[in-house]
């Protein structure tokens, strides 16, 4: 609840969430599309490759976001200390800053992990043989389009502009990756 309030109040957290969710979806899109084009016939391979990427981007996001934010906040605190002519250790300001850095790091890392796992979900079903691999690919592409659209709509909501327009813009970005990769495969570059 507390973290949710921070997200509503803090624009930097929102920015991190949008940026990294987008990163997360497109990373997984790249991997899954490449596997689709290459004609991979094992759900296991798709899941393992994607989980690897998800874990790596997640951890890099958490640590990177936390460190970057902590550095900025420490700098802010030092400037404030000079103005107030006192140390700010153990004050509510310092506590708030620490909490904020932690939330930033988590928002940064977990947002890409979260959407990554969502678009990967169909392959877990394929692993347990509930659906076929081809269906899993198509379901995953559909989930990507949906999550990109929702992400775009969220961006539109922040900007207080047309939700559908921004949503379609994000989907178009995803489609661009698809077209590029597919084109490269068709023209024999890959």
């Amino acid at each position: 609840m507390d973290a949710f309030l921070l997200i509503r109040k803090n624009e930097i957290v929102r920015r991190y969430i949008v940026m990294n969710s987008f990163d997360g979806v497109l990373t997984i899109l790249g991997i899954i599309l490449a596997m689709f084009v290459a004609g991979v016939d094992s759900a296991n391979l798709v899941v393992i490759s994607c989980i690897g990427a998800i874990i790596a981007t997640g951890i890099s996001g958490i640590l990177g976001g936390y460190q970057a934010e902590k550095a900025e906040k420490t700098r802010d605190l030092k400037i404030l200390e000079r103005h107030l002519m006192r140390k700010l250790e153990k004050t509510s300001i310092e506590k708030e800053y620490k909490k904020l850095s932690l939330v930033m790091g988590l928002a940064n890392g977990l947002s890409s992990t979260f959407v990554g796992l969502i678009v990967l979900a169909p392959f877990f079903f394929a692993l347990t043989k509930l659906i076929g691999l081809t269906e899993a690919f198509y379901a995953s592409f559909a989930l990507m389009a949906i999550s990109l659209f929702l992400l775009g709509a969220f961006v539109g909501k922040i900007a207080k502009e047309n939700l559908v327009y921004h949503g379609l813009l994000m989907v178009a970005a995803g489609a661009l990756v698809g077209v590029l990769l597919y084109g490269m495969a068709v023209f024999g570059i890959l």
Partner: protein, 101 residues
């Protein structure tokens, strides 16, 4: 020093605080100290990163040490104690009639 100390009814302090958290939160924080009943905060000067505020606190027996600890924990500094009213009832200030300009 004979007998029990008299209760502090009103306390006026001059405080230097960062812009954030705002004086709303500052006032609520001060009122959450149980010896303080009412608070009145006014900004008197604004700087780049800080602001100077005049804090008037009212209570039946204000605990000054607790108040200064609260201010300290908030990340602010008490610059001066400008006024205090102590005793059984609030003393009304008598206007100085013969005050020279």
């Amino acid at each position: 020093m004979a007998g029990k100390k008299q209760a502090v009814k009103v306390l006026v302090i001059d405080v230097l605080k960062p812009h954030k958290p705002s004086i709303v939160e500052f006032a609520q924080e001060l009122c959450s100290e149980k010896s303080v009943q009412n608070a009145n905060i006014a900004v008197t000067a604004i700087d780049e990163k800080t602001e100077t505020v005049k804090v008037t606190l009212e209570g039946s027996s204000i605990n000054f040490d607790a108040v200064s600890a609260t201010v300290e924990e908030f990340g602010a500094v008490i610059h001066s104690v400008d006024k205090v009213i102590v005793g059984k009832r609030k003393v009304i200030e008598v206007p100085q009639i013969d005050k020279k300009e």
